[in-house]
Symmetry: C2
Subunit: 249 residues, 2 copies
Amino acid sequence: MAEDHRRPVIGDAFGTILKRCMDVGVAAGVAHEIVERDDGYLGVGDAVRYFAADDEWSPVDRWACDRATGRVLDVGCGAGRHALPLARKGHDVVGLDASPGAVDVATRRGVTAVLGTVEQLPPALGSFDTVLLLGNNLGLLAGPGHARTVLANLAAATRPGGRLLGTGLDPHHTNDEAHLAYHDRNRQRGRLPGQARLRIRDGAVATEWFDYLFVPLAELRELLAETPWHLRQAFEHEAGYAVHLDHRP
Amino acid sequence: MAEDHRRPVIGDAFGTILKRCMDVGVAAGVAHEIVERDDGYLGVGDAVRYFAADDEWSPVDRWACDRATGRVLDVGCGAGRHALPLARKGHDVVGLDASPGAVDVATRRGVTAVLGTVEQLPPALGSFDTVLLLGNNLGLLAGPGHARTVLANLAAATRPGGRLLGTGLDPHHTNDEAHLAYHDRNRQRGRLPGQARLRIRDGAVATEWFDYLFVPLAELRELLAETPWHLRQAFEHEAGYAVHLDHRP
């Protein structure tokens, strides 16, 4: 009996969580995002944070968002927490998300949002002055090999002289034994320590597994070598950091 | 790679969640209880509800708690949300919980709490006027066979003329397809539809699997046949209900 456990259904768990939070008028305590790591670790966060106003953002997200200029591509826009205030300030903002539910929620909130991924950007997006990878979405670089593809794709969508503003987390700011064991396991498998294999779960539904990269700022610099992106400024706050990259083809 | 998923470590996930909530001064949004069902369904609740004051309890828990008399055994006491106000009203209350962390938290909050289960009550508890199974802890009846053992054990700890006050949930008040499919699966296996196989998860840790019974009030009556417990009163509120059982050996 105990071994006859079914697997969750594959679906848009992330979008479902955002929709549930929005459908109750964006309240805390209603919809929770469960992040499962492939060692069995489960983390939980309230979905309401995806709707947070700028005074509730992390200092690194605020630092990065303040530096947006011109036409903006918000990668992994979620419910549009960053896109909305930027649009209100007069920027032409396009939100991009791999979750149909997130695109739906962002659209309902007034964001111009499209379905797509950084692996394969939708056609006809046009060119941008700023690309955003906020909410730790530097994690979408996924890993050393993948990062080159993603950074090339984002460069192709950015005007020369444009910028990439992103935030990330240093995985080594932890004493949690489960995290430290996970880093060791990654090293043994030839992965970066903070290269997390994750999926989002909600009720009976799970997304597909995906890689999400937590990397120290020093190692992020190395990932930028031989790409069209040059690190201009960085800002660190506790385990988090923000970077301002210049597009110099 | 995707198939090399480790299993969580077995441990006191429930107690850890309660401790984390208490250690931040009992705040919402910090510690979440993840309940995993053996079909892969995950539910989430904020641990702060285990610390809720009586004006935040469900109507059925309030109804049941109001009927406590004399010396009280609070089965599955958790952080002591029911035991504390009863002790304040002058009752001699003993909390019982299978989670060492819950016993620790309840004790730190001033509850007389002991480690143990309804399958094997600790020795020397003495005799009680009231046994409580609140917070839907009629679920600890677990299933038809198990219910007889639990009800006999609780009767042995209760004075003749004493009472059992418990709350439960009717599993059929749902339109959720995942729940309905789970009920069907249980029927096919000869289990009651609402006989859920669950474990609590937190980070890298999971409890052992256990059965927890959601049963309509009408079927609870049948489980009481040929036990020393007689249904005296019941109160229903939406999917929930409370029962007052008399101990008539």
